[in-house]
Structures are given as structure tokens and as C-alpha cells.
């Protein structure tokens, strides 16, 4: 089972909204993680994403992605105190190597923890994006910018798992040989197999009229109620994040002493993010399939 979430259509407002709208919401949540390192604000984003994922029916996909992010977050947490010796509260006095002191301070450890939390939080909106946004729909909307790039991206999305399966098969075949070939030989053969498959795909594209040079105009689609709600949520999260930052809310100072302000501004920011992320799912009009026979 893949640790990276894979899009499956489900009956949820995030899946029903256009790819652009849901992408905007995910990007706005990621923007919060980029702008803030305040633990309460970042934790609010994590809770907001988990809530949205549960409401959209992709909780297990997000949980798998979260498991993927934990080792990364731990790594950041542990590395930070080793490379930053700043901070007033000394925990462990280390030695000196090539003129660099390896003292571990409480502030560096806490800053590492905050950075790790931020890394974990940053993964979450992208996992929500992967689980809820139809890549074909998104690529179709990008075709107006560059058709060939969008098609290349679509092909890559389609072929990466196919090539991974090819490589696994070749690995199994190598294990079946009495004298297994070296990894380099198998890798070369896998690469040449990938090129062969690429030629087949190019032939398939040709017989579908790829080089005809004509392209369909994109269908005009009016905003659905789900588009409107998801876009409103995305706008609310992004604007709140930007104005909050400009107003100086959610500031954290790590060195020389750890100072995390927790006042009404931070609590209000966190609450606003939670409410905005819940907006697409709130109320009767967010429900799908409300008609009764």
C-alpha cells in the first residue's frame, strides 16, 4: 500500500469542487505552515487538515502520509541542536571539533522541535491535495498555459507506477536466475525497458492524433456551490494568514531565550483557520446526495 495518497473519487465537497478550488485550499493551508512557526498555529493547521480529511473520507490516506512525515520531523528535531549551539540554557556540554562546539541547548532543542512540527504540518496539506484533487482535472486546467508540459506531467503521473512495477518484475526475474546479474545490469535493462515503453506510448499518442496540432477549447464551467465554499475557505485562510503575519501575530523567538507568545491574536488565528477549513463541510448545502426518492 502506497504511503503517498492516491486520488480516488469520493462523495465529498472537496472532491466535488473543481481541482483549482481544492488546490487553492490546500495551498493556502500550506502557506500558513510557511509563514508561521508558532506551535499552536501550526497545530491548528494539522487539526484543520485532519478534520477536512476525515470529513472528505480520506482520513486513512492522510494518516499514512502523516506516518511518512514523522521520521522526517524527528530527524529535523534531532539535527537542529547538533548544528546550532546558540541559546542560554545549556543541557549538555559537548566537545569541540575543528573549532566548532557541540553544546546542546534547550533553545536549540525546542527550535528543532518547532521546525519538526512545521515539517510534519507542511506534509499534511499536500497529502490532502494528493488525495482530493483529480490530477487529470488539474492538468486540463493547466493546458491553457502549456499543453505539452501538462501532457508530459500527465504521462509521468501515469507511467511512474507502471515503470516501478516493471522494475519490480525485473528484480524478481533476476532472483530467478541461477547466477543473478549485477544490479547495474538490471538497472540498465530496466532503463532500456522504460525507453521501449516510452516508444510504445509515443506510438499510442500518435495514433490518437497527438501531432494533429489542434486542441479543444476548455469547457466553461460555472462555479458550483462546492467551488464557492472551498474557494471562500481558501481565501479566508490565505488572507487571515497574511494579515496576521503583517500584524505580528504568532511570533516566536528561539534564541537566546525561547519566547512563544500566546495571546488572543494567536488563539483567534488558530480558531479562524479551523473554522475556515471546516467551511466547505458546514451546513445543509455542503451535503451531497441530499435528495430523497
Amino acid at each position: 500500500m502506497s504511503l503517498v495518497p492516491v486520488y480516488r473519487r469520493r462523495p465529498s465537497p472537496l472532491h466535488a469542487a473543481s481541482a483549482g478550488a481544492t488546490t487553492a485550499l490546500c495551498v493556502s493551508l500550506a502557506l500558513v505552515c510557511a509563514l508561521y512557526d508558532h506551535p499552536v498555529v501550526v497545530a491548528a493547521v494539522i487539526v484543520a487538515v485532519i478534520g477536512a480529511a476525515l470529513a472528505a473520507g480520506v482520513g486513512s490516506e492522510i494518516a499514512r502520509a502523516a506516518r511518512l512525515s514523522v521520521p522526517l520531523a524527528l530527524l529535523v528535531t534531532l539535527i537542529n541542536p547538533l548544528v546550532y549551539a546558540e541559546g542560554n540554557t545549556l543541557l549538555i556540554r559537548g566537545g569541540s571539533v575543528l573549532g566548532h562546539r557541540f553544546d546542546i541547548t534547550l533553545e536549540a532543542l525546542a527550535a528543532g522541535g518547532l521546525a519538526g512540527l512545521r515539517v510534519a504540518a507542511f506534509v499534511m496539506p499536500f497529502a490532502l491535495f494528493a488525495a482530493c484533487v483529480d490530477p487529470d482535472d488539474l492538468l486540463r486546467s493547466l493546458r491553457r498555459v502549456s499543453y505539452r508540459s501538462a501532457l508530459t506531467a500527465a504521462l509521468a503521473t501515469r507511467l511512474v507506477p507502471v515503470l516501478a512495477r516493471d522494475a519490480t518484475r525485473m528484480g524478481d526475474a533476476a532472483r530467478c536466475r541461477p547466477h543473478p546479474p549485477g544490479r547495474l545490469a538490471v538497472a540498465r535493462a530496466a532503463l532500456s525497458g522504460a525507453l521501449e515503453r516510452a516508444v510504445d506510448v509515443a506510438a499510442a499518442l500518435e495514433v490518437r492524433g497527438y501531432s494533429a496540432g489542434r486542441r479543444s477549447a476548455r469547457a466553461r464551467r460555472s462555479l458550483s456551490r462546492h467551488d464557492a465554499r472551498v474557494l471562500a475557505a481558501a481565501g479566508a485562510v490565505a488572507l487571515t494568514a497574511v494579515f496576521g503575519k503583517l500584524a505580528g501575530a504568532g511570533s516566536v523567538q528561539s534564541y537566546p531565550r525561547l519566547e512563544i507568545t500566546l495571546g488572543p491574536a494567536e488563539l483567534a488565528l488558530s480558531a479562524l483557520f479551523l473554522v475556515a477549513a471546516a467551511l466547505p463541510f458546514a451546513g445543509r448545502s455542503a451535503r451531497l446526495g441530499v435528495a430523497h426518492a
Partner: protein, 534 residues
């Protein structure tokens, strides 16, 4: 009078750097709305002809073309694949390589979008073709979640979305199990009848598609060797040695009966007319019970070549792949392992080889186990055939003197033989396991493989072949093990398991109603000859 959708006059084509032409002096005319089967042995030029009809030859592959070939009034020498795409849809062998988008709906829309159709027209065409091809329920699915049969249907629907006058298919059933393959052929016949789309289908399993065909064109050495109705084609094929004839046609020919029937139904009617109706009466015989004392079984030796005891394989959060399989295979036995897709055949072979571990149960092997997986090309990783195995192995594969050839330049049959010799090159094996070795293989190559299996068994190795091909199983096996979902549901000699079967049965057995346990054309002919004399 119907117009010609394809017209070829003295058409020649040679691939770049090839010595001999792949198509030579080809003359052919195909009417609108016809269903044509292209027959021919491997390397005869069927695929090249299809690639010429869709414009890939010469525009994509290069090479030299001469003579005239028009499709829908467009000359393939002057018009490329993109222009010809408006006239003909093309479906290749491997569905994985021709489905290019992540979602089914996008895949069906792609060809129309390339033609610049308005969005509303694209949406309508996608909806209609999905309903016509029975893939409407798949429209919102991701392509990587589809089975091989579903993927092939989506590929055909994508080729048909623009309502082409001609549909070209290159062995579209070779990657499918028999049920999905039969469904596909009848789906093609339905769209040929209802939409009037001309179909040109290249296939090796002619018994599967001749009942649906109006016409058969046999290609040999790049030119048309026979162009006639299915019945006349079979008469020609049996007279030419029978390499392209169906099993039932070969049985009739060997028994000296005529005319040669094109379908099992026609064969039964012909037998009734000859007064051999009793032979055709169904023989109701119970399948041997699993685990029962089997008098036909070889005398058991102290050490089995392979033994599985209460073998289970359960996938975490997934299905039960094997559920308590018990199987003992003696040295020298030739076993056909049969069953529908997902029954656990391939998994069982992988467990015997040690590529996977069972969840529960015991596996015993008397020595080395050689396993040839489904794609022989996966075994060939070097630049020269000689680097894959020694001279002796090359000679055994029939490739003596071709050690300098790149493995990817070998034909499918040659790759198969070389890969088999590669897995056997480690010395004597207690067991040789082959997974679906006859996919896309013509009859002469299957006969050669059956002979090699016989040699391995005579050398003391137990040979297990997982296969859907009942005709091949009847040829090589002395035991058939039939698997249901994760378990063995029948185990016995081929005459018992295959003669009384409904789906797992040969065409000869179906024609004769299982009488006398006859499975192969030779056995059926002997039975018919006895009845005629009697």
C-alpha cells in the same frame, strides 16, 4: 455495393536497416463494415500491416515504402498517423502502454481533444462510447486501478470515441484470460454489427475469433497467402499443413471428414449429419475428488519433487490469496495448473520458488527450482544473447550462432526459449515452473515448447505450467490441477478434468461432448475414425 475502407496495391515496406522487406507486393481490399481476422505465424507481417494501416509505418518507424495503400481514401504514404486517426482507431497488444492518462474519462476524451472537437461534443462522445463499450461504470476510476480486461476495454473505447470507420486490433486478447478474451471478441462483433465499424483483428487463437469473422486474410512472409471466408480459410489452412487451422478443423481433416467446420456448433451439426451424433452426446463424468485415491497417479516415490502442505497466503488488509493448498508433485510429472485469474496459480509458483513467503503452511522441494515468470524479456539484461547463457544453452534455445544478437532484437518465441534456458542454466532442477508461457505464441512455437517440457520431465524434473490455454494443457500435461479461489478444486488426468469441463475444456472435447476423453485433434480424429469404421 460497399465501398473499400482499405485498399492496397503492390504495397511494399522495409524497416530501417532490415535486409528483407516486411511487406511485399501486398494486394488487399477490405469493405466498409466488414469483420476481418488477420491470421499468420509469428513474424509473418500481421503487426506491420496493422501499423501501416494506421500510418505508424512508415511515418513513425521510418523505412522504405512503395506501392499504394489507402485507408478511408487517405494514402498512408502521404498522410501521417494523426490524420489517419480520424479514419481509424488502433489498439495494440499491451494495454499498459497505450493508456496514457490517469483517469478513464480523460483517456476517452484525449483523441477528440487532439482533433479540436468542442467541449460539449467531447463530453457527449465520451458518454456514448462508454455506454456502448460497457465502461460507463469505470468513467471516474483511475486507470492504475483497472484490471487487464478493463484496461483493454478502455483502450478500445478510447480508439472508438471519434467514431472511426475502421478499428485495428493487434492481438488484443493476448494479455487477457480466456473469459475476458471471449467477452472482448463478442463485444467487437456487436459494435461491428451495430455501428458498422470495420474491424481488422490480428490473432493467434483463431478458434476464439473465427466465429465472429466475415473474412480471414492469412499473411505469410509479408504477403497475402489466403483471402476468403472462415470456412474456405480453414480448408486452405488444413491443406497447407494445419499450422493455422483450428483444433476442430484439424480433427475433421485427420479423420477424413469434410467440409471443415469453422465453429464448434457447425462441427456438431456436421457430425449429426454424418450419423455420428452419439459421439457428440455429452459425457457426464464426475471430476475426481481432491485427495481421493487416484488410480491413475504415478507410483509415489519417497521424495516428492515439490510438496505444499496446508499452504496459506493472506495479504494484510487484502484478500486471502491461498487458503490451505495441499499439493504433491512427483519427479517427472507434467502438471498443468489451471484456474481463472486471481485463483492463486502465479502466487503458488512464486511461493515454490521462494519469491514470497507463505503466511502459514509448509513447502518442501527436493532440489533446485527454476521459475520462468510471465515476461521472458525481464530475464534478458545483457547486450548480447551469448552473455545471458553459455553456448550450450543458446544451442538448446535454437539460437546457435546468434550469440551476438541483442536480446531485444529476438522474436517473442526466441526470447521465451532463451529465458527458459537461462533459468535452467544452473544445472539439474528438481522442478521447473512456467507461468503463462504461451501468451501470444503461435502453434508451432507451442508444439516446440511442449516438446521441451517433455524432455525436461524425461530428465526427472517435475514441470508445472500455469496456463489458461486448455489446448496447450491437453498437449503437454499428464495431470491437470484446477484451482478455485485459493484452493485446489480438481486434480486428475487431463482426459477427466478437461473432457467433462464447461469452461476448462478444449474445442475438440466440446465438439465431441467429452466422449472418450478426447481432447486433442489427434485423439478426436482417432475416436471419429473408430466410430466411422464401427
Amino acid at each position: 455495393m460497399p465501398e473499400h475502407v482499405v485498399s492496397a496495391t503492390a504495397f511494399n515496406y522495409r524497416y530501417p536497416e532490415a535486409q528483407a522487406p516486411a511487406l511485399r507486393g501486398l494486394d488487399l481490399e477490405l469493405e466498409e463494415g466488414s469483420f476481418t481476422v488477420l491470421a499468420g505465424s509469428s513474424g509473418s507481417g500481421k503487426s506491420t500491416l496493422l501499423r501501416a494501416l494506421c500510418g505508424l509505418v512508415p511515418h513513425f518507424h521510418g523505412g522504405d515504402a512503395s506501392g499504394e495503400l489507402t485507408v478511408g481514401g487517405l494514402s498512408v504514404r502521404e498522410h501521417g498517423p494523426a490524420e489517419l486517426a480520424a479514419v481509424c482507431g488502433t489498439v495494440f497488444q499491451d494495454p499498459e502502454s497505450q493508456v496514457v492518462m490517469g483517469g478513464v474519462r480523460s483517456e476517452l476524451a484525449l483523441a477528440l481533444e487532439h482533433r479540436g472537437e468542442p467541449a460539449a461534443a467531447v463530453a457527449r462522445a465520451v458518454e456514448e462510447v462508454a455506454l456502448a463499450m460497457g465502461v460507463a461504470h469505470l468513467l471516474d476510476r483511475r486507470t492504475e486501478t483497472l484490471s487487464g480486461g478493463e484496461l483493454q476495454r478502455v483502450a478500445i473505447a478510447a480508439a472508438l470515441a471519434g467514431r472511426p470507420a475502421l478499428l485495428l486490433l493487434d492481438e488484443p486478447t493476448s494479455q487477457l484470460d480466456p473469459v475476458a478474451g471471449d467477452e472482448l471478441i463478442w463485444l467487437l462483433r456487436r459494435l461491428n454489427e451495430e455501428w458498422g465499424t470495420a474491424v481488422v483483428l490480428a490473432e493467434h487463437r483463431l478458434e476464439r475469433c473465427l466465429p465472429a469473422a466475415d473474412r480471414v486474410v492469412a499473411i505469410e512472409r509479408g504477403t497475402v497467402a489466403c483471402d476468403s471466408s472462415p470456412a474456405d480459410f480453414l480448408a486452405w489452412a488444413t491443406a497447407e499443413g494445419g499450422a493455422l487451422a483450428t483444433p476442430v478443423a484439424r480433427m475433421f481433416s485427420l479423420a477424413g471428414l469434410g467440409p471443415v467446420p469453422a465453429t464448434v456448433k457447425q462441427a456438431r451439426e456436421s457430425l449429426r449429419a454424418t450419423g455420428l451424433a452419439a459421439v457428440g452426446a455429452p459425457a457426464v463424468e464426475a471430476l475426481p475428488e481432491v485427495g481421493a485415491r487416484l488410480p491413475w497417479r504415478r507410483e509415489r516415490r519417497p521424495t516428492a519433487a515439490l510438496r505444499a502442505r496446508d499452504l496459506w497466503l493472506e495479504i494484510e488488509d487484502g484478500p486471502q490469496v491461498l487458503a490451505g493448498v495441499d499439493l504433491r508433485v512427483e519427479p517427472g510429472e507434467r502438471v498443468a495448473l489451471m484456474g481463472r485469474n486471481g485463483a492463486g496459480k502465479s502466487t503458488l509458483l512464486r511461493l515454490f520458488k521462494g519469491l514470497q513467503e507463505p503466511t502459514r503452511g509448509r513447502l518442501e522441494c527436493a532440489g533446485e527450482v527454476a521459475l520462468l515468470l510471465q515476461n521472458p524479456g525481464d530475464y534478458l539484461v545483457h547486450d548480447h544473447a551469448a552473455e545471458e547463457a553459455g553456448e550450450a544453452a543458446l544451442a538448446a534455445a535454437g539460437l546457435a550462432g546468434r550469440g551476438e544478437a541483442h536480446p531485444r532484437d529476438l522474436s517473442g518465441g526466441e526470447r521465451q526459449r532463451l529465458a527458459l534456458e537461462v533459468v535452467l542454466s544452473g544445472g539439474p532442477c528438481a522442478a521447473v515452473l512456467l507461468d503463462e508461457p504461451t501468451r501470444g505464441m503461435d502453434r508451432p512455437h507451442k508444439d516446440a515448447l511442449a516438446q521441451r517440457i517433455g524432455e525436461l520431465a524425461a530428465g526427472g524434473a517435475a514441470v508445472i505450467v500455469a496456463t489458461h490455454d486448455t489446448e496447450f494443457a491437453a498437449t503437454f500435461a499428464d495431470r491437470v490441477v484446477l484451482m478455485g479461489p485459493g484452493t485446489v478444486i480438481a486434480d486428475g488426468p487431463p482426459a477427466e478434468v478437461l473432457a467433462g469441463g464447461w469452461h476448462f475444456s478444449t474445442d475438440v472435447a466440446r465438439t465431441l461432448g467429452g466422449a472418450g476423453g478426447a481432447l486433442t485433434p489427434e485423439q478426436g480424429a482417432r475416436l471419429l475414425a473408430r466410430e466411422l469404421v464401427g
